[in-house]
Amino acid sequence: MSVRVERLSKQFAGAVAVSDASFAAPSGAITTLLGPSGSGKTTLLRLIAGLEVPDEGSVFLDGHECTGVPVQKRGVGFVFQGHALFEHLSVRENVAFGLRVRRFPAREIGERVDELLELVQLRDHGRRQPAQLSGGQRQRVAFARALATRPRVLLLDEPFGSLDARVRIELRAWLRRLHDKTQLTTVLVTHDQEEALELSQHVVVLHAGRVEQSGSPLEIYDHPASRFVASFVGEANVLHGHIRDGRASVGPHTLSAPAGVREGATVHAFVRPHDVQIAHARGVGPPLAGAVVEDLSRVGGSVKIALRLDSGERLAIRMAKGGFDGLRLARGDRVQVELKGAKVFVEEGIGT
């Protein structure tokens, strides 16, 4: 079932949380709402669930408007960041809660709870209290509880946000498998771009309550629609330059620029750390930018290299260990730098 929101706006005591936001989450896919804290992503999710009422705009579930439908009748499953398990109930009773309040027959409840505990691999933990579980187990109970009433949409509010890094990565893979099994339309809120790019088929980038870009993870990463998206999603270096003869001139590099830009306008070139090629400064080749190696650090299988360009700007690059070993670089070496790819944004307004 698809989720669509149109022109949603929500303020809290005068502070804008969501502003004129529209997007669609495709049926059967995981859609991520990605943004920094305060970007309105959680509010947007709560608006979809019906936990908040929008000031303006509409929510559509499966093509039907449900803006005024109370949360109980929307058929959504919600997983909270802090798991929000009922501390006074056992794991089984937590999972059974939604079925009990809907007065399902006891036998059916028992079967469904068994099925779900199996699904979240907690079959032997039914009699425990939430306080006796680890953080990852609690969050899995929260998933089982949300799935028990067979929701049409699963809404996840930073479900792994309060867990430590290793558990988070494990649960990410687990959620991926769970989704492969259930094929449930899922909307996931996160500020973790890695989580967004890894888990979802569709990403909506939010900034200050507005939708900045909506598309596949690759589109977002390779073709960011704004400076904010380019800097927020993935690591990026920013180099500054100007428009000269209709092209972006950044140091000794000349990059293509959007058509129709004003001569002299300021440009910001976003360069991914792996889109830079470096070579020792000995060879004579095309006009490359000169730079000095300021720092080197090995991180697992790759190497981070911090460069200072002759223009004074800094560039952080990353390369595989194999390629690095061939270069025999040391701190203080002079190198030449070539940009393999860059995304150019032209600043609107008066250039220098």
Binding site: V71, F78, A84, F86, G98, R145
Partner: protein, 285 residues
């Protein structure tokens, strides 16, 4: 995790431990104070009550006036406690969960019966419901009697005891965020189901604790009840008022016998409170 286990919680870091002498002195002062102001008076009540023998004691507590006072006291508690549970939980819920105009005022008003002398509470009821009071003529026209009658006593008791439940429940509700309740909503629970299945279990111990305190005060209240009672023997005297009457009549054995019953009720309440506290700690470590 293990650092917060019960045994570790009681041992202070060495830097905070006092010398043995200081500790002994502090404990001695505490115990002496307790003995002087609590144990000795309570013991005195029971000794005085039983001074003329157990037969006299039984006769004193079984006389019709005392039995009537006992029933009235229990009636007051039986009305005031449920009313204040309902009001206290509702008020605490509203203050903890909602923003509304007058919230600060409500919060301050809950404390009013604590901060105002009970005598003034009683007088205000007389001003409202007495023969010359605001509602007096209307009540008289309908043949209703509030002041110097049972309804007035129940009202006064309810008024002076209304903060107890609210004051116990409010901090517990404020310390919890609403996410379990929201989770219940997303799972399809209606408002009353959320309250009965999620909210109430979480504040259960606070409510019970409030009930016990409220009950203790309801049975022991003197000042406000004294003003509205009219002291009609066998009809509008509660146990505390009965004690005063007997005492003023130099029936010391009778006065202390009735007082000992009140004290027993208080001790039972105290024991129940202690039990609840232990049980609550077991459930929520």
């Amino acid at each position: 995790m293990n650092a917060s286990s019960p045994s570790a919680r009681h041992s202070l870091p060495p830097a905070l431990r006092e010398p043995v002498l200081v500790r002994a002195a502090l404990i001695a002062v505490g115990l002496a104070f307790l003995a002087l102001f609590v144990l000795v008076p309570v013991a005195a009540v029971f000794t005085q009550a039983l001074e003329k023998g157990s037969l006299a004691y039984l006769r004193a507590v079984l006389q019709p006036e005392v039995r009537a006072a006992m029933w009235l006291t229990l009636l007051c508690a039986a009305v005031a406690v449920p009313l204040n549970v309902a009001f206290g939980v509702a008020a605490a819920w509203a203050i903890a969960r909602y923003e509304f105009p007058g919230k600060q005022l409500l919060n301050a008003l809950i404390d009013l019966p604590f901060s105002v002398s009970p005598v003034i509470s009683g007088l205000s009821l007389t001003l409202l419901f007495g023969a010359q009071g605001f509602f007096g003529p209307w009540l008289a026209a309908h043949g209703l009697k509030v002041v110097f009658a049972v309804p007035g006593i129940v009202l006064a008791t309810t008024f002076v005891t209304f903060p107890f439940v609210a004051k116990e429940v409010l901090p517990v509700l404020q310390a919890q965020n609403a996410d379990q309740e929201e989770a219940a909503l997303t799972l399809g629970a209606r408002g009353w189901q959320v309250f009965l299945r999620v909210t109430l279990p979480r504040i259960k111990w606070a409510v019970l604790y409030g009930v016990i305190l409220c009950n203790a005060r309801a049975m022991g209240e003197f000042g406000a009840v004294s003003v509205v009672s009219g002291h009609i023997r066998g009809r509008t005297n509660t146990l505390p008022l009965q004690v005063e009457i007997l005492y003023n009549e130099y029936d010391f054995a009778g006065a202390f016998a009735v007082a000992s019953m009140l004290t027993l009720l208080a001790l039972v309440t105290l024991a129940a409170k202690k039990l609840l506290a232990l049980r609550a700690r077991e459930v929520r470590p």
